[in-house]
């Protein structure tokens, strides 16, 4: 029985007080898991992860990170508590160089560890090491995502949340990004991933959570969801796959 890294309970949230987008979300992510958050457009997937990251105000409910309540913790303090978030767009500082992006991300670490962690990121993402003086804005879509993930990983978070890193990437790049995520998860980082493509999401994650109209509609191991005829009918566009 592994510990809960993230526990969201009865969460209601939205940009405006009178207009909740999330209506009582319950969600648990356990240590070492790879959870994918699925659901139709406008279901509140993005709002949920932005809310956990501190970018969308919480109306009511609780968000616990490793048992500690973090709903009221300002966004800039969440990274220090081990929660890293990679937004879907504008997730790097385009006007800065690759090196500066990493230096900035490492700034909250003790001085002695910074250089080592930056070097570790160059090892993990050799593309970035090729030209660290390059402006981040000049990178390709896939490289940008790598830099964004590296920025988040540099502080060795306990939980890495990514909002649709596959958006706008070619299928080949998506496969590569997902491969990296699998490796990162294999190295012990818990991941919560928002994904538009249900099939691809269930393939990579160990558990799937489907959000519909601001509530959790399904929450089950990936294999079960992929084989569920209702899920298949609604979200996979047709017949269920053969049960695993």
């Amino acid at each position: 029985m592994s510990a809960d890294i993230l526990r969201v309970s009865a969460l209601a949230a939205g940009y405006q007080p009178d207009l909740p987008i999330l209506n009582g979300v319950d969600l648990t992510v356990r240590d070492g898991e790879f959870v994918v958050l699925l659901g139709p457009n406008g279901a509140g997937k993005s709002t949920l992860v932005k809310c956990i990251a501190g970018l969308v105000p919480v109306h009511s409910g609780a968000i616990r990170l490793c048992g500690e309540e973090i709903a009221a913790v300002p966004a800039h303090m969440k990274l220090r508590r081990g929660l890293a978030f990679v937004p879907q767009t504008e997730n790097i500082f385009a006007r800065m160089t690759i090196r500066e992006n990493l230096q900035l991300a490492a700034q909250i670490l003790p001085k002695a560890r910074r250089a080592g962690r930056i070097a570790a990121m160059y090892d993990t993402f050799p593309d970035l090491a090729a030209a660290p003086g390059r402006r981040a804005g000049a990178l390709s879509g896939g490289q940008r995502q790598m830099l964004a993930v590296a920025r988040a990983l540099i502080v060795e978070p306990r939980l890495l949340i990514l909002d649709e890193p596959s958006a706008g990437l070619s299928p080949l790049m998506v496969a590569e990004v997902f491969e990296r995520l699998r490796a990162i998860n294999g190295a012990g980082v818990t991941i919560l991933l928002v994904e538009q493509n249900v099939r691809a999401g269930l393939e990579i994650a160990s558990r799937g959570v489907i959000l519909v109209e601001g509530r959790v509609a399904h929450d089950a191991p990936s294999g079960d969801l992929a084989g569920d005829p209702v899920v298949a009918e609604l979200y996979l566009g047709g017949k269920a796959e053969a049960p695993a």
Binding site: A75, H76, R80, P87, E90, F93, L104
Partner: protein, 304 residues
């Protein structure tokens, strides 16, 4: 003959540049054109004047001119004190006014308007306290030395140039090389992402005010040393400051200084051509030209 306006223009331009750095930083990080920035120059000068007068009264020895310069040690000490006091003033105004408007989610243009009200209050408060008659740091007269044939400068003028240059280089290094500078650039580019990267935007905003106000104080004091101190000096400098900040490209510190020198030189040469009474129009002509030809400024990124 042609060299003399060069010297005057550079000295004046250095002062404009120091003020424009503050305008460009506030604009790029707090995202509004601060019409009260000129008042920080005036307040910087008056605060220094007050400190220096108090020092001179307590320790008359401090009033004796240093070497070739027109002022004694009381002025450099007052400069440091005034940088801190002006920074405190800027933080107080932010706490009272701008910070509250930011909290309430006010539109950018409301902040511009509030800065307009703050400018009126700050300027007239100076006029109320110190009256509108000009004041001076010193009564010493300086003889201009011959540097090159046709070029004369007072030691004070050379000091202003040197000090402005050092200040700009230090500010540029701070922004490009230090963690604090990186944090400022990050907030300037994307405040939400900066907070996700663990940067406390409120601390960065405080830093912007401190830096901008301290540089404004230096600019105001140098202007006071070279010319004179008046409550309207900040208002008169405001248009040149905006022209320089936009010409240099919003957010660029070296751009603000180079553009400040450009505006200063343009004023100085234009005065020779069309007369001193049109000096204030020069900045406007530059502003209009930049907005027509290259709205993002010399060192600015093209705007979307």
């Amino acid at each position: 003959m042609m060299l003399q306006p060069l010297m005057d223009g550079l000295v004046n331009g250095a002062i404009i540049g120091l003020g424009a750095i503050g305008v460009t930083l506030t604009y790029s990080i707090l995202r509004f054109a601060n019409f009260a920035h000129g008042e920080l120059l005036s307040w910087g000068a008056y605060l220094a004047l007050t400190v220096s007068a108090a020092l001179g009264a307590l320790l008359p020895g401090l009033g004796t001119p240093i070497g070739p310069f027109s002022f004694g040690w009381s002025v450099p000490i007052a400069l440091l004190a005034s940088m801190a006091l002006t920074a405190g003033l800027a933080l107080a105004v932010d706490w009272l006014l701008f910070g509250r408007l930011r909290q309430s989610g006010a539109a950018q243009i409301i902040l511009v308007m509030a800065s307009f009200g703050a400018a009126l209050a700050l300027r007239n408060l100076l006029e109320f306290i110190y009256t509108s008659s000009p004041a001076y740091f010193t009564n010493e007269l300086q003889i201009a030395m011959k540097i090159l044939p046709g070029l004369r400068a007072t030691p004070d003028q050379l000091l202003v140039l040197g000090l402005a240059l050092v200040t700009v280089v230090l500010t540029h290094l701070l922004l490009t090389r230090s963690p604090a500078g990186r944090a400022m650039r990050a907030v300037s580019e994307n405040p939400a992402l900066a907070s996700l990267a663990g940067i406390d935007t409120r601390a960065v905003i405080r830093l912007v005010w401190i830096l901008g106000a301290a540089l404004a104080a230096v600019g105001g004091i140098l202007s006071g040393v070279i010319v004179q101190i008046r409550p309207t000096m900040g208002l008169d400098l405001l248009l040149p400051l905006f022209a320089a900040a936009i010409l240099g490209g919003i957010g660029s510190v070296p751009g603000a200084m180079i553009a400040g020198l450009t505006v200063g030189l343009a004023e100085s040469f234009a005065v020779g051509l069309v007369g001193a009474e049109w000096r204030a129009a020069v900045s406007f002509v530059i502003l209009v030209a930049v907005l027509i030809l290259r709205p993002q400024g010399i060192f600015g990124k093209a705007m979307a």
